[in-house]
Symmetry: C2
Subunit: 447 residues, 2 copies
Amino acid sequence: MQNILVLGAGMSSASLIKYLLDHSEEKQWKVRVGDLDVEKARAKVGGHKNGEAFEFNVFNDAEKKKAIAKADVVIYLLPAEYLYLVAGECVEQQKHMVSSAYVSKEERLLDDSAKTKGVALLNEIGLDPGIDHMMAMKIIDEIHGRGGKIKGFRFSTGGLLAPDSDDNPWNYKFTWNPGNVITAGKGFSRYMEKDCVKYVPYQQLFRRTKRVSIQDVGAFEVYANRDSLKYKALYGLEDVSTIFRGTLRRPGYCEAWDVLVQLGLTEDAFHIENSASMTYREWMNAFLPYSDIKTPEEKVAEITGLEMDSEAIKKIEWLGLFEEERIGLDNATPAQILQQRLEQKWFFGDKDRDMVAMQHVADYELDGQQKRLTSTMVVYGENPPHTAMAKTVGLSLAITAEMLLSGRIKLSGIHIPTTRKIYEPVLEKLREEGIKAQWKDEEKKKR
Amino acid sequence: MQNILVLGAGMSSASLIKYLLDHSEEKQWKVRVGDLDVEKARAKVGGHKNGEAFEFNVFNDAEKKKAIAKADVVIYLLPAEYLYLVAGECVEQQKHMVSSAYVSKEERLLDDSAKTKGVALLNEIGLDPGIDHMMAMKIIDEIHGRGGKIKGFRFSTGGLLAPDSDDNPWNYKFTWNPGNVITAGKGFSRYMEKDCVKYVPYQQLFRRTKRVSIQDVGAFEVYANRDSLKYKALYGLEDVSTIFRGTLRRPGYCEAWDVLVQLGLTEDAFHIENSASMTYREWMNAFLPYSDIKTPEEKVAEITGLEMDSEAIKKIEWLGLFEEERIGLDNATPAQILQQRLEQKWFFGDKDRDMVAMQHVADYELDGQQKRLTSTMVVYGENPPHTAMAKTVGLSLAITAEMLLSGRIKLSGIHIPTTRKIYEPVLEKLREEGIKAQWKDEEKKKR
């Protein structure tokens, strides 16, 4: 029997643990699931004979050492900021570790000793980051292998709704961390277009969108996702003249979200003392100029230059931000108040299904021809907890752990899945699970 | 002889030191001016027989103790963050101290011991904060003294140009710290209008202006200056339904400045690696969407919704932000690049004269009548260094120190000039120096 240690039994662990238990008989795996809340771990294991739930506190050194000692591989799902505590012990005990987290400064310090001890610490194994890296590198290595020269590379991901659950004017519900959705894009984003670096401040981000059409699933809009320029070095694309990483939303979302941004409703840097006793309408009005005669609706339209009966204003109305209903949340930041309201309105229910869409577009030159390779992945979720989000993240982690156990992946030190040694076997196996992209490779139309 | 210790001989010290030396014979004062750069101190003292320049390092404990030991009163003009170091020693040696700085947390801790030792630490003695407090409290105490009830209180200040130096389309030059002008309004501002608290995010601040007319000097626009609500408690105006603190600019300034804000050019949170080799035009273009056909000028007009021949776009052009001229500043933030350009274009020359304008408007009820008291102060500067800014700040400090020396102000502990014991004698003396407000008290017109 090989032992797999899963640390963390939150929402995102369901599909991961299911995959491991479903294959445990065949593969001779023992799956141990540790969480501070042992009931959560038990619920996920569901009494499976090859599963075991136990109480786990990442700050308890003795517990940590003991749990890791029994494991052949560790899958880390707890908060990213404590990852280095577990990673350090994994290096010490020479156990491989897999996680979806970004590499932190603290973890980075473990790279040398992980290499010396022959331990693999594999990060950014998830959807975004994760599958996006793998699909990008598969395309890039393929084109380079054929002798092609990549001129432009654009890729975008969206956690969205399956068409049968897409029943509100925003075409959106929370299928992932709501806090991240509220604060998305704060500060600056950056990308490169035809050799020009472009900086996009928060107040322009949701206005500077592009339309994207994805085969079979329709129209989207895309906004820049943080610093696209770092992918030039990460993907070995130093010579491209265009590099863009984006986030996908359904058309109309960004225009309406921009209204909230422009008014300051997504701010989290200050608290509103009397927020508990305010209504949403009063709160909204506090961000609008004073008027004896104009309604808040009229003022929003005036400030944003939108028509009163525009789709964007209708979306804001649909959120209930103009309603005389008490907020009931004390001394809250605007972002906290907005999040509370959105969690009511964008609630992802038991009968809902989500959809993950990802598209990579590589423009390249081969034998004097200008070509374009478009890779499209669409994954539909089942009802929660086995959403497309949970599946894409969970199966990436589970399969990577499986490959480490079988010896199919042999690495030491810290790695992200931009290396062929990871993406090739993992994408192959993800394909068997229905997580796969379609490629369209064609000559580029002249304008 | 009484000894006055002036710490700091920067730009803002000129009018202060001149006043002290001009009165030194009559008042029997010895004026010692300390600065890290002794040449600066010497230039200000100018060989006056009652003056003395010396090298002073605020971090040298022995120097500090010695300098303070010789003084009867200390005027602090060094950076605000080191004030508590001097204030602590002043309390220790029982010497009064005056400064224009806000009260820091560190200084706040000295309040009890200052009271016990009978030492006055007088802060916010300048223009804004400073004269604004004094004029506000004089009005408020006057109205309350007559039995009036204040309903609304608005006050605004601007450091602007005298008409004869007002020769550029912005009607503005740097008469004070340029960095503060670039970052003015970042984060949130707040005020209260007719019992409604209003929050104004940065991206709305320069759009939500009001027109103000000031007698003899013409039209201005005013934008909200930080947190106006704190003045309710500070000025004893807990029951007002309107409180607003603003900054004055000439009409059209805010619309054009808002263009820079919307594009992200005032940001200081990130650095542009290759800024040295870029031109201002390239830099500007990096904040605009890519286009094969449109010029940066056209794109700015399109994004902001302004006409190409609008006054705002002309102001941006006048700044030279569209020019193909090298920036030459390495790895700079957008705000640093903008500041460099503005320091060239908004340079306040030797022959320039500035103007300080301040207006307080109190709406109140007296004997069933709705009344309005408008207090207006306009101060014109001489050529630098004796600008209106330097005069208003310097004379406030000098006169307050004088009042402490003569015993006309008797206080202990930390105070700002909202108390009658400070503002009454200081305003009286400022009036003799030509720094005075005109009051207009009238029945309010019905709408």
